[in-house]
């Protein structure tokens, strides 16, 4: 499990209040019974933790946790790259 994945799992587990979450790549927010408020809080926590900005329109392509983690990893890499080049 990558650092990003571990951190996201901790955030999601805390916000959906389910300590025994089965956090597999094919799992969805629906599987976790996350409501719209949970999802907003997860996005805010992820953005604050990794200092990234998640575009809501990008999330339409994110269908499960595997895609969500990959998206965050990409955003973190983009941020690190722009920090190095600036």
């Amino acid at each position: 499990m990558t650092t990003v994945e571990e951190t996201v799992k901790k955030i999601v587990t805390r916000i959906v209040r389910k300590p025994d979450l089965d956090f597999k790549p094919t799992a969805t927010f629906k599987d976790f019974k996350a409501d719209s408020l949970d999802i907003v809080q997860i996005l805010v926590a992820v953005e604050d933790t990794f200092d990234i900005e998640i575009q809501d329109e990008d999330l339409k392509q994110v269908t499960d946790m595997g895609a969500f983690i990959a998206y965050i990893e990409r955003k973190v890499a983009e941020k690190n790259k722009s920090q190095v080049s600036s």
């Binding site: 409501d35 719209s36 408020l37 805010v44 953005e47 900005e53 998640i54």
Partner: protein, 258 residues
């Protein structure tokens, strides 16, 4: 209307109605502090547009559901600006559910951002308004009308309006004018999402007796007026901005009965 040189905080001031208010105040010569929840890029964009008016624009990220974030936002305002002249309580959020399906988390989230945040911001802002000031709350017609799944937001807006009246009287001796505006449906991304989710008519199909749908700038113009000294004898009022729709809901926006 002279607002030049004033300093304003607009909560939720980066997008939609909040951005229109920010830019209207900037156009009037007001230095603006833009509070935002998530989108730094949107806040920076609005701040950039405000600066084109020759004013100072500063952005502060803060989730107003958290009292400690409100505290740190005001600490930053105090250390950077030293005072505040105008508070616009615009930030809003809400859980869209029928009353019988609302849980306490959704209720508290909505009430905390839409109503409690105004109380906490007003408490802090009043201390920074040493020479008086203006506060304007941004309400919604959903405080008195009933719209599908708008229960939590509508009730929170009703609380916001009541708080506006109480603050107006309590802060009057300090030279602080407090009023609110309640706008009808404004053409915005938020409205489009709401109508789509609820299967309601699209914004472009709706109009008002005034002949068109409300724009964010219509709200911003009234807010700017309430921030001026010309509005000094308006206290604790909620100004309805709806193109006359609530007075004549059956006209379908035809502009009258003729």
């Amino acid at each position: 209307m002279s607002l030049k040189g004033k300093i304003a905080l607009v909560t939720g001031g980066s997008r939609g109605i909040g951005a229109a208010i920010t830019l209207k105040l900037a156009a009037e010569g007001v230095d603006v502090i833009i509070n935002y929840f998530r989108k730094t890029s949107a806040a920076e964009l609005t701040a950039g547009k405000a600066r084109e008016q020759g004013v100072t624009a500063h952005i502060i990220k803060a989730n107003l559901a958290e009292p400690e974030k409100i505290d740190s936002m005001f600490q930053e305002i105090e250390s950077r600006f030293g005072r505040l002249d105008i508070l616009i309580s615009n930030a809003a959020s809400g859980v869209a559910r029928p009353a019988l399906e609302l849980d306490t988390r959704g209720w508290e989230w909505t009430m905390n951002i839409n109503a409690r945040a105004f109380l906490l911001c007003a408490q802090r802002a009043a201390r920074l308004m040493k020479d008086g000031g203006k506060m304007v709350s941004i309400s919604s017609l959903g405080s008195r009308l009933v719209w599908p799944v708008y229960t939590a937001v509508g009730v929170s807006k009703a609380a916001l309006e009541a708080l506006t009246r109480y603050l107006a009287i309590e802060l009057a001796p300090k030279g602080i004018c407090v009023n609110g505006v309640a706008a009808g449906a404004v053409e915005s991304e938020a409205l489009k999402m709401y109508t789509t989710d609820q299967g309601l008519p699209q914004p472009s199909l709706q109009t008002t007796p005034a002949g068109r749908m409300l724009r964010a700038e219509d709200v911003a113009n009234v807010v700017a007026f309430l921030c001026s000294d010309e509005a000094a004898m308006i206290r604790g009022q909620i100004i309805v901005i709806d193109g006359g729709l609530t007075l004549a809901p059956m006209t379908g926006g035809s502009g009258g009965t003729t």
